[in-house]
């Protein structure tokens, strides 16, 4: 069975790739992913503004109260450097490349023009095979238009893709006025792929304390539908390598992603829940499914249920939406409040 796939110009032994998560913080953890059968590894995200913020805050707190009172002109031994920088991250890339055979995809997370290009170059120099740009931005200013938001994404991708030679894929959220147009623009700006989607940070309310509390919950298979939908729509039109992210929990999810047209299926929640070794089960599960359905390769099924290739493409569009809503049966009276 040929499980290989091509993603961002790289040949992967199979399409299952652990997504960027805290599971990939050490060379040992990366090794476990490879041993479990991952097609490639994605490192945890280097947060561009966190580096800057951390540095500033360290400076602030270490200086706080200094040079104010005769007996305590400082409170800490002078640090060699406040600047954490990406050194540790780069070291992880280097060690990963030394010890792994599968491709190493670095992940850079940020929101502004900031230090993207500088960090991207350093990541490239450290040996990463590809770079995933995770752009997470929630616009709260009513004066900013959707065009301006799209333009910000385009500028970031153009800057980074122009600065490095390694392939660049872009991970974004689903909430855009015209995702196809954005995808087209990103492609034209130099992106090689898109990862659909990053998880929308939805804080919860604590009604007793009346405070907003950060809360990140693991995904479920149900959430696969959104990226599935969009990959199926976009993969026909735009020459980008798509990765499905969010909701990949079992072999069927992987199969769906491939059929929609994705080149890889990435997962994190299920690995956080079941351990990295679960990658192996996904790989063998995929293989079994392919065999039982008499496929000979992953490539054979990739895109087989994209927008263009399904029997009823309107299922992806508004017509189907109306139909579904109108046919949705009302609940029985006993369940009404």
């Amino acid at each position: 069975m040929n499980l290989t796939t091509t993603y961002l110009g790289l040949t992967l032994r199979n399409p299952i790739v652990p997504a960027s998560s805290p599971l990939s913080r050490t060379p040992g953890e990366l090794r476990r992913m490879e041993d479990a059968g991952a097609g490639a590894v994605t490192l945890f995200s280097l947060f561009e503004e966190q580096i800057e913020h951390e540095t500033e805050m360290m400076g602030h707190y270490l200086d706080y109260g200094a040079e104010s009172y005769s007996e305590s002109l400082s409170f800490f031994p002078p640090p060699e450097s406040y600047h954490r920088g990406p050194e540790q991250y780069l070291e992880l890339i280097r060690k990963g490349k030394e010890s792994l055979e599968v491709p190493v995809i670095a992940s850079l997370n940020g929101a502004s023009m900031g230090g993207w290009t500088q960090y991207a170059k350093e990541i490239e120099q450290a040996g990463a095979d590809a770079l995933e740009l995770n752009i997470y931005w929630i616009e709260t200013d009513p004066l900013v238009t959707s065009n301006q938001v799209d333009e910000r994404y385009r500028e970031i991708v153009a800057a980074v893709a122009g600065a490095v030679k390694i392939p660049v894929t872009v991970k974004i959220g689903p909430y855009f006025s015209s995702l196809p147009n954005l995808a087209k623009n990103l492609y034209e700006s130099g992106a090689h792929g898109m990862v659909l989607f990053n998880r929308f940070y939805q804080p919860d309310f604590d009604v007793e304390a009346r405070e907003v509390r950060p809360k990140i919950e693991w995904s479920s298979s149900y959430e696969l539908r959104l990226p599935l939908h969009w990959v199926a729509l976009l993969s026909d039109w735009i020459d980008l390598d798509f990765a499905v992210s969010s909701g990949v929990h079992n072999r069927t999810d992987v199969v769906k992603a491939m059929m929609a047209g994705a080149k890889v299926a990435t997962c994190a929640s299920v690995l956080l829940d079941r351990g990295v070794e679960y990658v192996g089960k996904l790989v063998s599960g995929l293989e079994e499914w392919l065999e039982s359905h008499e496929y000979t390769s992953v490539a054979q099924m990739q895109g087989s249920m994209s927008y263009k290739r399904v029997a009823n493409p309107s299922a992806f569009k508004r017509a189907n939406y109306m139909k579904e809503l109108q046919s949705f049966p009302p609940p029985p009276p006993a369940l009404r409040r």
Partner: protein, 1181 residues
């Protein structure tokens, strides 16, 4: 090639000490701590000494410990040194006798500091060094950073050659902290000065089982004396050795030193003899006077011990007729101070041919200013026929009239020098910028340069004054600038608080950070300011630094902005060059923090230049704006006339008669020092408030107060005074009120963070909210004033039980408005203590943060209630605090016993009720206490005027019949380290003493050095790589006695548990110990989140809450109660929110991972051990 460096005296000494030593055992003490910290820093960076090894720097538990370790290191053959001062040096005395007695080469570097007498002082004089005169150590004194460096090397070289140990002493702060441009001694020179044969000889004398000897014997009367004299030849050679080393140094570096260096007219008739930094000022004055033809001079004593009589006499000019010997110390009861006595003896033993008159005088105690005018006064005294002897200079002694008159208009300042005075706040970075500036000028120009920095005694809102001199001539002005040609006011508000232009010379330039534009400024200036600008023809410039800081995203850091303006105005460097140098300095200072910070500072430089504007000064002063009163006019006379003067910066002018003779001061004085330091203050919203009391409980500064008052009491309340219907039982018809003393608030916002309530329609608002305040309004003042007139006793049908935050908020705190850091984690515990037992509290307070914000002049936060009762407070030392408090306890117990014995025999006189009430065992409740107090009053009334000896005694001891509570308070440095032996002993003695450890986990007051309370993995000074060992479990050690009440508390995590612990500790019939978690700025946290950190510390199991109450065991129950839940988080979650841990995460992630995992094991093990203790069924019956 000569290498110039701009460093302070401490660094000058440390550079030599580090290079010439192998073992450095230390204990932090101001002002010497920096020397040890620098050595530790160099050791961590793997800098090498002259033998190519990295010196070992070891922090010990006390100076006594450091001296002991050094003694051992020396005996084992290593070259060893230490740095200390004051009490620290005194703790080393026993080992100093030993080290000298064994003829062991060693050098101690001493930033000489006042020994505490009637008061502690961290500032410099020679009382500590003089207290070691009999130890047999040689002593050299330097007067400037250059001399300190040079003499340090002479000392290291001489000790090896003479085998006599040396003190390298210099003036604490005045020299230790004065930044000067000096010539660096290169390592090659140090190598040339240190004779390797002598090093070899030292090693050969070391104890070794390979060639065993016995040292440290006990000797009997038959031979001890002879053996003591046997060392004489070594001392006889010291002088020659030191001079020869000085000569050798001169050949190597060109700077000449002698045991006694005379400077002045060759035919001088009047000569001053002195040592230390004052001699620099004397030399400057002598140069000024001799230029005018006066025949004066000064002998600078370089080697004080051994005192070389022939060389001293030879140093005096042949023409001398009178000598004034100046000592920077006081020896009460002596014929004269030490140097004076030595000089007199010297001239008796080897008379000078002129037989000059010799007088002695004291100057400069505790860094009191010593100026050219004072030097001139000393010379003037020598000019009269019968000069005053045993005089003082620099103060006005209107009691014993020993002080010399000083013509304060006299100045010897170098006219060619630039003299700049900079007023700022600690928080605005003024000092840091000035240190930078002086290094730029010292390093980049041909000028000589000097910087000296004066700090406040407050830890929040502290004022700093920087004094910068530079110019073409060497700077010997070891005193604050008196005639400044540049004055910068970095904080506009200071204009209203201090006479900031008093030092401005005619024609000086004045730079003001002003929120007002040039055209608007004048009308906002006080009249006296305007008058000085006009009268002195000052050039005025303004810059709105805060706006520039905001625009350049610098927050409130205005340092770079004001520094840029300074360089633009002082013109020491061509403008472009100056800016380039500032940029270099920015890169050097902030480069570590990443490109964004550097860019922000660069932007600030550009914006600052554009924003700097001259002010057209009107011809007339017409302001109606006045200076702010330092204390209100209605304050008590002592507060107004003495403390008020100190607050205003005029303490130097107070005469001797103004001061208490024995260091006793009134309490409750912070209430008069309205500092108005916060830009935001809390506002109470009665509609949202649940009256839980948490804001009142946690306010570190006692500015949020609650009262329950009768409605009738509110008649005439000013507008803006708020009250609410009480949410209390037994308070019908009363009103509940919370008031904020806006002028005392530091703006820490802990009150807001801890408030559990939310506005029902706007969850961003709580029951207490911070709002910006431009100026404290009359309405706010009136509301606070009115609040203070309301009765303290709660207007309730039944007085509540004070065992929770809600009721305790109604108790008047007797600890208020301290100068502790904004958001301090220690002070809420002290405030709580004052609420619970304040009216019967005796406190022994170990030296540290709590003794500084508790007892540093001008004011104290310890206060009195409406009956005049309140905490009586004292600080003895750092190391002896438990014993000090214990002494109070046994004295009170003894007095009470004596008084009790006198009751029954005098029943007839006292009456049955008084006798029976007072003879009965005292219950610890308020009603009993009131009754006993009434009986004591009755007893006193009945015994008034008695002459019968037993009744006179009873009358004297009557107050002891109402029990007092003795609390022994200090930080972890005291309890875990230097005072641990005493604390342990006191706990073991079984008396009713209560010990409170305010555990910040470092030596906070002296700048964050590690203690045994520092947790594993946290970075602190002397634990740069993260503390490798676990925090000492002090509580568990105390539990082993079985009869000690022990509690571990964290107010921010569980206030009810803290309150219970305090109440139980107070009630315990034996010793008690409370260990309180105190968040601190030395944790590098957002102080506003300090209480959250306390909570996290508990939730992760790092800080388990428990109470170990032996009284429970007597009832057959397990004494140990674990009050916190099992850990629900990992230690990492807590640690990663603190800079002290994050530093290690950044600098050495692998080490952090290893240490944090070990620390997690510590937490797990400790929790398991406590759980076992709390669940064991085996208890005492």
């Amino acid at each position: 090639m000569k290498s110039w460096i701009t460093i302070d005296g401490n660094e000058a000494a440390a550079r030599i000490a580090y290079r010439a030593s192998e073992i450095i055992a230390i204990y932090p003490i101001t002002p010497s701590s920096n020397m040890a910290e620098l050595c530790d820093e160099w050791s961590v960076r793997k800098y090498k000494n002259i033998w190519g090894s990295i010196p070992v720097v070891q922090e010990m538990q006390s100076e006594a410990g450091a001296a002991g370790a050094l003694h051992g290191a020396l005996q084992a053959g290593s070259l060893s040194t230490t740095f200390t001062a004051s009490q620290g040096l005194l703790l080393m005395i026993p080992n100093m006798f030993k080290i000298a007695g064994e003829l062991t080469p060693a050098v101690f570097h001493i930033a000489a500091r006042t020994v505490a007498t009637h008061a502690l002082s961290i500032f410099g004089d020679h009382s500590d060094v003089m207290a070691t005169r009999s130890t047999g150590w040689a002593m050299v004194f330097g007067g400037s950073p250059q001399e300190v460096q040079d003499l340090a090397l002479v000392a290291h070289a001489s000790t090896l050659r003479s085998r006599v140990p040396f003190l390298n002493a210099f003036d604490g702060f005045r020299t230790s902290h004065e930044v000067q441009k000096i010539l660096e001694i290169p390592d090659e020179t140090i190598r040339e000065m240190i004779d390797e044969d002598l090093v070899k000889a030292h090693r050969e004398r070391a104890l070794s089982p390979d060639h065993p000897v016995l040292r440290g014997t006990a000797q009997n009367p038959d031979v001890f004396f002879q053996a003591r004299e046997a060392a004489n030849p070594f001392y006889q050679k010291v002088s020659d050795i030191v001079q020869s080393e000085m000569d050798k140094l001169q050949t190597l570096v060109g700077r000449s030193y002698h045991l006694f260096d005379y400077v002045g007219a060759p035919d001088a008739e009047r000569v001053i003899v002195m040592m230390g930094s004052g001699a620099e000022c004397a030399e400057e004055t002598v140069a000024h006077l001799t230029a005018k033809g006066e025949k004066v001079g000064v002998v600078k004593v370089r080697l004080y011990r051994p005192f070389d009589i022939p060389r001293f006499v030879a140093s005096l000019p042949a023409t001398v007729r009178s000598l004034a010997v100046l000592d920077r110390c006081k020896e009460p009861g002596a014929i004269g101070e030490p140097l004076y006595q030595d000089v007199v003896t010297a001239l008796v033993e080897q008379p000078h041919r002129n037989r000059p008159i010799v007088v002695g005088g004291r100057y400069g105690l505790s860094c009191k200013e010593f100026t050219p005018a004072m030097v001139k006064a000393v010379f003037d005294n020598l000019a009269v026929e019968s000069p005053h002897n045993h005089f003082t200079v620099g103060i006005v002694d209107d009691v014993t009239h020993l002080s010399l008159d000083v013509d304060s208009s006299f100045s010897a300042e170098d006219k060619d020098s630039f003299r700049g005075v900079f007023w700022g706040l600690g928080a605005d970075g003024t000092v840091g910028a000035n240190k930078n500036s002086i290094k730029i000028i010292g390093g980049e120009t041909e000028n000589w340069a000097q910087g000296y920095f004066v700090y406040d005694s407050k830890k929040s809102g502290s004022v700093t004054v920087s004094h910068l001199r530079f110019g073409p001539n060497p700077i010997r002005s070891t005193y604050l600038i008196q005639k400044a040609n540049f004055v910068a006011i970095h904080q506009f508000g200071l204009i209203y608080r201090y006479a900031v232009l008093d030092q401005a010379d005619i024609g000086a330039t004045v730079l003001v950070n002003s929120p007002y534009q040039p055209g608007e400024l004048w009308e906002h200036l006080p009249l006296s300011f305007q008058q000085q600008v006009i009268a002195k023809n000052l050039s005025l410039y303004v810059l709105d630094a805060y706006t520039v800081a905001h625009e350049s995203k610098m927050g409130v850091r205005i340092n770079t902005i004001m520094q840029t303006a300074f360089f633009a105005l002082c013109k020491i460097l061509p403008p472009d060059e100056a800016i380039a140098k500032i940029r270099e300095a920015i890169q050097k200072t902030y480069g570590k923090r990443g490109p964004r910070v550097v860019e922000q500072n660069f932007a600030a430089v550009d914006l600052a230049l554009a924003a700097l504007k001259p002010v057209i000064v009107p011809a007339k002063a017409f302001s109606r704006v006045g200076m702010r009163e330092s204390v209100p006019a209605e304050a008590p006379a002592f507060v107004r006339d003495v403390l008020g003067e100190i607050i205003s910066g005029r303490g130097d002018q107070l005469p001797v008669s103004a001061m208490p003779v024995d260091g006793t001061f009134p309490t409750g004085t912070t209430q008069y020092e309205k500092r108005s330091i916060s830009l935001d203050i809390p506002y109470w919203d009665p509609e949202v408030c649940s009256q839980c009391g948490k804001c009142v409980l946690n306010c570190p500064h006692g500015v949020i107060r609650a009262k329950m008052v009768a409605e009738a009491d509110l008649i005439g309340a000013p507008s803006g005074f708020r009250s609410a219907t009480p949410k209390f039982r037994d308070a019908e018809g009363s009103r509940f009120t919370i008031q904020v003393s806006a002028e005392d608030c530091t703006g820490c916002a802990l009150c807001v963070e801890v408030c559990p309530e939310r506005d029902k329609s706007d969850s961003s608002r709580r029951a207490i909210n911070m709002n910006p305040v431009i100026e404290i309004t009359d309405e706010q003042r009136a509301a606070w004033g009115f609040f203070q007139t309301l009765p303290d006793e709660p207007a309730m049908a039944e007085e509540p039980i004070y065992d929770n935050a809600k009721s305790i908020q109604l108790l008047r705190p007797l600890f208020e408005f301290s100068g502790a850091c904004a958001g301090c984690g220690e002070t809420p515990y002290l405030k709580l203590l004052s609420q619970l037992v304040g009216d019967r509290l005796l406190m022994a307070n170990a030296t540290g943060c709590s003794s500084i914000y508790g007892g540093n002049l001008p004011t104290t936060p310890w206060a009195k209630n409406h009956t005049g009762r309140g905490p009586a407070w004292s600080n003895s030392l750092f190391e002896d605090n438990a014993e000090f408090g214990f002494g109070m306890r046994i004295a009170l117990d003894g007095q009470r016993q004596q008084a009790l014995h006198l009751l029954e025999p005098n029943r007839e006189t006292l009456g049955d009720e008084v006798t029976d009430t007072l003879a009965a065992p005292e219950k610890a409740d308020e009603a009993t206490r009131r009754k006993r107090r009434a009986c004591v009053d009755e007893l006193k009334a009945r015994l008034k005027g008695t002459t019968r000896p037993d009744l006179v005694t009873l009358l004297q001891l009557a107050d002891s019949l109402v029990d007092k509570s003795v609390w022994i308070i200090g930080g972890d440095g005291w309890a875990y380290d230097i005072g641990y032996g005493g604390l342990d002993h006191v706990l073991a003695c079984g008396k009713k003493v209560r010990c409170l450890v305010l555990d910040t986990e470092v030596y906070s007051n002296t700048g964050g050095q590690a203690s045994k309370g520092t947790p594993r993995a946290a970075v602190a000074k002397f634990a740069s790589g993260g503390k490798p060992t676990a925090k000492k479990d002090l509580g568990r050690m105390a539990m082993t006695y079985g009869n000690v009440y022990v509690a571990q508390v964290a107010l921010g995590a569980e206030d009810s548990q803290t309150i219970k612990a305090f109440i139980e500790a107070e009630a315990h019939e034996g010793p008690s110990l409370i260990i309180a978690y105190c968040h601190c700025i030395a944790h590098a946290i957002d102080m506003q989140r300090g209480l959250d950190q306390q909570k996290l510390a508990v939730e992760c199991g790092y800080w388990p809450l428990y109470r170990y109450n032996p009284a429970r065991a007597l009832r057959g129950r397990n004494p140990m109660q674990l009050d916190s839940k099992p850990p629900s988080r990992r230690l990492r979650e807590y640690a990663e929110r603190e800079g002290r841990y994050r530093m290690l995460m950044q600098s050495d992630p692998a080490a952090f991972e290893e240490l944090i995992q070990s620390a997690q094991t510590d937490v797990d093990d400790r929790w398991a051990a406590y759980t076992r203790l709390a669940t064991t069924q085996e208890v005492k019956k």
